[in-house]
Symmetry: C2
């Protein structure tokens, strides 16, 4: 690796490098963070400046209580000119080895303009990460009349990915006018990272339960075992087990596990103490997937490693414990509410958040392909589930904290369908809350965000975005209010579709002369349903992949009739009513709900998945 | 102002400054942005480096098509060491003279780490603005072992506030190790700014309509004149005018303006062409406040300056045109829906956004002291309204674009009550939409945000925040779901109240042993209404100024009974139900609405005003 010309001098000597300008640095094992302790002076132009700098450094060190002595010394290095960059290696408890790149020198401390790159990221992923830093403008727009090549930066990162050290800070690394990198200062912590975590598993069977059993059904309506039984009451391939109950929802209940037919999937809602025994007694029944509802394990400070051991010993897929259950293959093996079949795969680390989203989905007529409440993830985790899912997607994740981060990144990279992710625990306060809640690591959000986005996931900023299977690139807005159009434009940002001149002309043929001639298409406050329909029909042929139809409660507006357009007509472009208001929108909302048409009640909600 | 030592050399001479290191710059009227064209070289340590730099600069200029000639020359300046800062003066079309401060040199271009300061800001406002930059860490935390004083920075800004030039860039200004500022490079555009805008007015009468008239009432239910009449039907002090109608809502209608009794406030819903004549004929009726509903003026490209002239000539307060009307003194002089009396003053630049918020307010039982739909602001603007309002507040503003920015800043500074502001048109796309909508200037959002926050307004990021009169500093969360607690913690951020050890002990007395022992107070998924009540009663005595009570649809939860607690009990601390879900929350919501209790349906909504 490229380092600058340098000389070493013992502490008592008068440094005489023989070339100027130079940087002077203390070299002492007592001073690790040289810059922080005032142990570095830059740009010294002559012997006089060098002498003064030496004195100043000694004073600085003394003021930090450090007195250099025998064995310490000075290093002078030739000063190069160039843009200061930062390269580093860190060991993260979740993601193991991670590369850091960004603006160096002064700028690291003040602006933290850095990106995080997985040690397994390929070149394209590295380049995308670099371009998320602000300093990357020197490569794209150029800087002070000069445009720099990304190549040496990518090459150095590729070398750091292969370098086997614990930690490394190269700061600054100068990018010279000639486009070369010179490492001016470095700090290294030798050693190796030793992950040894199991790779993610491919277990597609988890999404195909056929013959199932619920162990621990209950006749008490306030128990999870009752709701589990109720949700499977209509499934002839589902057995119930409870030694103290004979019949429930018209089904005969097994009192002994040994009497069960062969099953592929078992749901356990039983005391924690009987989990091990129950699982072992289910093995002869050929069970493969075990969903453990039971709480009070890791999240209550109890040891749950026996579950992973059981999974390994008997080649089981265990979901949970401390979870709400799953929905897969049209079977609702959860104690949540009803589920409509649809497109979304939702894997959630919080049962309550999942229950909330499922309840909203009922209200909004949104359907699911698979739902997994992952619980404590004693065995199967997000990475395993993503690897095991092979459908058209999307896969939407609610994540609080994870382990085995590299597995997650690999699973996202390998997933053929879109992966959308909402991460709770971005702030310190929330991380504390998450910790007491699941006992899972929550970590540095910027690092997490950088890595999962690098691997190809979309990060949602609004949790409601998990409820939708959409991903649009160019959005058109039709509105009866310029103000609402302006507000949603801010939220849509650069995904706002640009109308062509001919599209503007075609709209002008059907709209009043004072329409906005722009997207948002402001069809003016006195628009009735006929004008809405005309605008919708004309805009349907344009290049946008989604059209939001905003309705505000203007005096002459009849929201119900506008909602009615969505019942009567079909459009080629995805078109969504956005009903802004309270009281005056109620009837229109009721109508759309009855007819199972997706609509939005807030601008925020309408853009939550964009 | 402090400038560094420098020498000037004609173009053909070989610069020989006599001291090193130096910076070399081209001095030519053809090269205004020296740095962008490669016309500057820094840190030249000896004559050889200086010679090379000169050649390189000439090459750079040629590559930009500039050939220096007679009259051009070179400037060498002594290089100082220090942190590079930026100081500037700009003229903004809305806010006139504005000071800019931030990180200088390379960092300006890459990080745009700057703050905006009004030329009339006092020292406290200047300091607050500076502290919003990242570079300000050198003053607060110190940098490389040294902490710098803010004093010289504030002093230089105070001097720039008094300096009468059009534009000025001081970049970089070096902050030396001794804490002194040295202006290394400057660019100035001489001249004066000539504002000459009228000062904001104090017109409290606008909020106290007593005797009113509606000109242009209508018998057609789809007309604004009908809704205006309907909203005032019960007011015996309100007259109607329409030459073609005899009676409406049991009121006799005046056909001639001359027959009216004396009125203080007139609402005009008449064609644009008859505005001038109508206003002049109302003068003998002693009218003072005129609210013009009529649209089709400035926003349709028509001249509306005659309204301002009428206002000046007859000392009128004109609201509008192109507006929804006002609500004041308990009188609904708008064609919006019903209004409940309450605490909020809402001034909106969009009638439709206002109609949406009013409609939500009905749904949510939120009340208003004053509402003003400001419309095109031909006469009275936001600044005038804030100056004229003298109540306890808050004043909540929906702003798209303004003129007379200095008036707004002065009004916010002088306002004794909280001013909360949502600004539409943050992005370029939205600014285009806003422009076609109201014809108002929308400008640079960062500049707008910096200045109004500096003057003391709170900027809301969610438009729904305009519906609430609250402003909390320390928020407590009670939840039956850890996940929801984590998500809202992210949104609340550093306003999350920290529980003391004794508060944790008192909660432990009533809660199950596995409660979170932290804020959010996770009372566990099996919490029924009695546990909620116990947590609420204990937490009521703590130091938080608001408590959010989160309810997620867990299997055993009865949202209706938890909602019922808010009906039966009163608490000292503001306490809000947050009902997260869809179908399962419907009955609880209906109950709270009936009992006129404020609640939230989304976490985003609950924090919209924080």
């Amino acid at each position: 690796m490229p380092v600058p010309e340098y000389c070493y001098f013992p502490l008592e000597a008068e440094p005489a490098p023989g070339f100027y300008p130079v940087a002077l640095k203390i070299a002492s094992p007592k001073v690790v963070h040289k810059t922080d302790m005032g142990g570095v002076a830059l740009n010294l132009g002559n012997p006089e400046e060098l002498r003064k700098a030496k004195q100043k450094i000694l004073e600085n060190l003394r003021s930090h209580g450090v007195e250099p002595g025998a064995g310490d010394g000075w290093i002078t290095t030739r000063m190069y000119k160039g843009i200061e960059l930062f390269f580093g290696i860190l060991q993260d408890p979740v993601f193991e080895k991670v590369i850091v790149f960004g603006a160096g020198g002064v700028m690291v401390e003040l602006f933290r303009d850095v990106c995080y790159i997985d040690s397994e990221a390929g070149e394209a992923e590295i380049e995308k990460a670099i371009l998320r830093t602000k300093i990357s403008a020197i490569f794209t727009k150029g800087f002070r009349g000069q445009k720099y090549s990304l190549r040496p930066v990518i090459d150095l990162i590729l070398r750091l990915q292969r370098l086997d050290v614990q930690e490394l800070d190269l700061n600054p690394v100068l990018l010279t006018e000639e486009g070369k990198l010179v490492i001016v200062d470095a700090r290294v912590l030798p050693g190796k990272s030793s992950p040894g975590l199991r790779p993610a598993r491919y277990e597609p069977g988890i999404f195909k339960p056929e013959k199932t059993v619920i162990v621990g059904v209950s006749g008490h309506a306030e128990k999870a075992g009752y709701a589990l039984a109720k949700n499977s009451a209509g499934d002839p391939d589902c057995c119930y087990v409870n030694p103290h109950l004979a019949i429930l929802f018209g089904k005969k209940i097994f009192s002994r596990l040994e009497d069960l037919p062969f099953v592929d999937t078992a749901v356990l809602s039983i005391p924690a103490a009987s989990l091990q025994d129950t699982i072992e007694r289910l093995i002869p029944r050929k069970v493969k997937n075990i969903i453990i509802i039971t709480a009070g394990l890791k999240e209550a400070g109890k040891d749950e490693r026996f579950l992973q051991e059981l999974a390994e010993r008997y080649q089981l897929n265990i979901i949970g414990p401390n979870c709400l259950g799953i929905y897969a293959n049209g079977k609702n093996l959860s104690f949540g509410g009803e589920v409509r079949r649809g497109e979304i795969n939702l894997f959630s680390q919080s049962g309550a958040i999942l229950a909330e989203l499922m309840d909203k989905a009922v209200y909004k007529n949104i359907g699911f392909e698979n739902i997994v409440s992952v619980g404590n993830m004693a065995d199967l985790d997000f990475a395993d589930l993503i690897r095991s899912y092979t459908g058209p997607g999307p896969v939407n994740l609610y994540v609080e904290g994870i382990t085995r981060g590299k597995n997650l990144l690999r699973a996202i990279r390998g997933c053929p369908c879109p992966v959308n992710l909402f991460k709770a625990g971005k702030t310190e306060a929330a991380r504390k809350a998450a910790f007491s809640h699941t006992g899972n690591l929550s970590g540095n959000y910027e690092l997490f965000a950088g890595l999962v986005q690098g691997a190809g996931a979309r990060l949602l900023s609004d949790i409601n975005g998990l409820l939708y299977p959409y991903h649009f690139k160019k959005v058109l807005v039709i509105t009866n209010a310029g103000g609402a159009g302006t507000v949603i434009s801010d939220l849509i940002g650069d995904k706002l579709y640009a109308l062509s001149a001919s599209e503007i002309d075609r709209l002008s043929e059907v709209l009043p002369s004072n329409w906005s001639r722009n997207n948002p298409i402001d069809i003016i406050g006195d628009a009735l349903e006929d004008r809405y329909l005309q605008a919708m029909e004309v805009a349907d042929g344009f290049g946008a992949d989604a059209i939001y139809v905003l309705v505000t409660p203007q005096f002459m507006t009849n929201p119900e009739k506008i909602a009615g357009l969505f019942l009567r007509k079909t459009f080629r472009t995805k078109m969504f009513p956005v009903l802004l208001g309270g009281e005056m929108m109620e009837k229109a909302k009721t109508l759309l709900r009855q007819e199972k048409i997706v609509f939005f009640e807030e601008l925020n909600e309408a853009v939550s998945f964009l």
